[in-house]
Symmetry: C2
Subunit: 477 residues, 2 copies
Amino acid sequence: MDLSSLADICNQKCRLKTDLPLVAGISGGADSLALADCLSTLGYRLIVAHYDHRLREGSQADADYVKDFARLKDLPFETGGGDVLEYAQKINLSIEEAARRMRYKFLFDICRKHDAQALAVGHTADDQVETVLMHMLRGAGLSGMKGMTWRSIIEVFDPTIPLVRPLLGVWRKDTEEWCRSHGLDARIDPTNRDTAYARNRLRREIIPLLESYSPHARQHIQKMAEHLQGDYRILSQLVDDQYSTCLKSSGEGYLCFNRTTLEEYDPALQAWILRKAAFQLVRELRDFDAAAVARCLGSIATTSAGWKSDLPGGLRIHVDATEVTLFSWQADLPGLDWPQLAEGFDAMLPSPGELVLGNDWLLRAEDTDLETAYMRALDNEDPQQAWIDMDSLPGRLTVRRAPAGQRFTPLGMSTGSQKLSDFWVNVRLPQRARAGWPVIFSGNEVVWVPGFRLAHAFRLTARSRSVLRLTMIKQAT
Amino acid sequence: MDLSSLADICNQKCRLKTDLPLVAGISGGADSLALADCLSTLGYRLIVAHYDHRLREGSQADADYVKDFARLKDLPFETGGGDVLEYAQKINLSIEEAARRMRYKFLFDICRKHDAQALAVGHTADDQVETVLMHMLRGAGLSGMKGMTWRSIIEVFDPTIPLVRPLLGVWRKDTEEWCRSHGLDARIDPTNRDTAYARNRLRREIIPLLESYSPHARQHIQKMAEHLQGDYRILSQLVDDQYSTCLKSSGEGYLCFNRTTLEEYDPALQAWILRKAAFQLVRELRDFDAAAVARCLGSIATTSAGWKSDLPGGLRIHVDATEVTLFSWQADLPGLDWPQLAEGFDAMLPSPGELVLGNDWLLRAEDTDLETAYMRALDNEDPQQAWIDMDSLPGRLTVRRAPAGQRFTPLGMSTGSQKLSDFWVNVRLPQRARAGWPVIFSGNEVVWVPGFRLAHAFRLTARSRSVLRLTMIKQAT
């Protein structure tokens, strides 16, 4: 380890100032001890913070050791701890991930308490290599393969205080050597030797095997990550630019893009823009899976009429002739005009005939011959049309809003019924569209919920004699 | 293996037409046999081509087997072979790389002979995973990590006929299964079992270990490559665009960029542009190393006056206030105006005094005190100034072109001398600048080659009494 190049890294890559408080997360291992020792030697206003995961006997001794180190160096010391096992069980996380979250939560609390410019941690080049390999083996794109960065914001912990990693270019053995030659008796975490932990298996088994294959494998992987960070930076900039170019409008819970602009981009760029949009809408979205993205891209490329689909994270996408809208299903979307009935609307549906619903929508009822009806009803995928068995209707068809508590037996449910209010939740109709949604009744029974589902009792069967085709149509404006 | 999705891949990803000739490179292993069998079933106009590497006993039997297969399927058959070992030794390549080159050379010859639309080879998803891992372990950026592509041009083999890989999404075991269930008795290359070959060690040892760590490691690596191919495509497009934006002029052997535009780009993008430029100038350039790129970027960011440096591949870079020029050192650069003497120029250098050389350059001689001279000469890094020991000069200083055969003892060479013509080659002065280059003489001895080197005999020593400072200056225009 060379102090003057570390000073350059702190200054240029981590963008640290010597005259502002800086919290360092110190486990007591060689990496973090060397980090604290170097940063304090370089004159940084360091606060030493230690988190006790209480995962093994002797963890208190580590805390004491770090405390002694801080006293010796005359640095402020902060400590905290928690029950990682309990937390891991409670929210169903791996122990490693639970430990990470509790540790960072504590460390960023300390940062805020001391008004620190950043949190410094002791991740080394070895940690980088392990991280990149883990990402690769568990499935990653460029954002995973680029590994950890010198300076980054982790929104879930703090939206403004960055996490910095000054040792990302230093190998673990050099931090160990630093500790040895500076009289620092680094603590060895015995769990590090336990290959049951995924990262440790990488460290002890896989990386040595890779090095037997290519002696500089570790160095090459580290360089690759650095290289990919540059590429990621360029790409992110491009994505930001093109995202802004094709964003047409936005509001609480929705983002609406110009489809013509979007579909001219390379599909890979469209995918970046969709993922960025999804993360804008759902900050904590962890996995916006490739299959969902592929479905969206497919429909952007081919859909001629309207198309919508559910996506991970409670999101939906709607693609029409000119717009691509990504939204959470509670969102209040100005751009999507649903069929809506005015309060108190109650009208007979002439059969055959048409009924204007307002908002440019109309309902149409047509007589049709049985043979055609059978054929078309069989592979109907358009929820805006339905074929009903005339003889099964208890009375004339009327169109009105459904009263509170209305029940309904959707097609496919042969016995019993469900509340229409539950049905709305199942089909994810946005809250605000529910009250005014047109429903086709016969007497007090729901016959058809246009746009969604026919009632089971009124479906076409082999015994049907006369059939009516119902269609709900959005008229061109 | 599913024929209908393979048909889609051939059509959409590989962009093959069924009605044009298509050469398939067939080793006789399961991958390539399955490929040939499927392509012929799908109705492609296939020519089966087999290359015998003659690296082991029994290779002739493979050739016979492939020939029989072609006859059975009623497909044209072409075969060739060569001495891989001899070729590998001759040009100092690994056996695997020598085999690859000889095989592709043969296969593309067959493509040209049959006017084929493409060469199809049997690389599978497993080959992809192995390739990506090899690249990673040996050092790679995005272009290596993206792996092999469905369709690509390999300029060194053929500038227009693409190489296509229809099986890149198919796993090796599925090609084996295809062969078993279609009565194809695939040949097993016994060298495949020999882990002495790098790729086979990956296949037999490393990938199984990675899968014991993460069961879907192979699938994840394959998906990663596919993902990175999209990112590479976007990035390449961006690089092409920005390259064109900042390219100011170009000619045989040189490319000149607008420095102001270039230096506003992210350094990672500057690096892409420089690498692209280098490959434009030297097609066969294999390794434009990161250190050279970093040096260029550093000088683009900081150089105020002129700066030049040698780069790999016989390239040089020149950075001045407004331009960044990349050129091969034989190039005829209009933009770089060197000091040049007119033919027959022969003038005394007044000491002290100035001499105008033409082309906006002048030479200056100044008296200076010994102490300052010692201090400054010691760490002089500017080849356009020199300090000489006045008392060592045999006569007055004159400036003229060097005659043919002129010899010279550069500083640091304490005995003997070298031809100035050899010196020019060593310092890589472009051919066209040599004849007119100003040289400072005393009598018939070269005292200083401004811009490059002082003569050893006239250097400042501890015994020097009087000293002259010489400077060659480019005047602002």
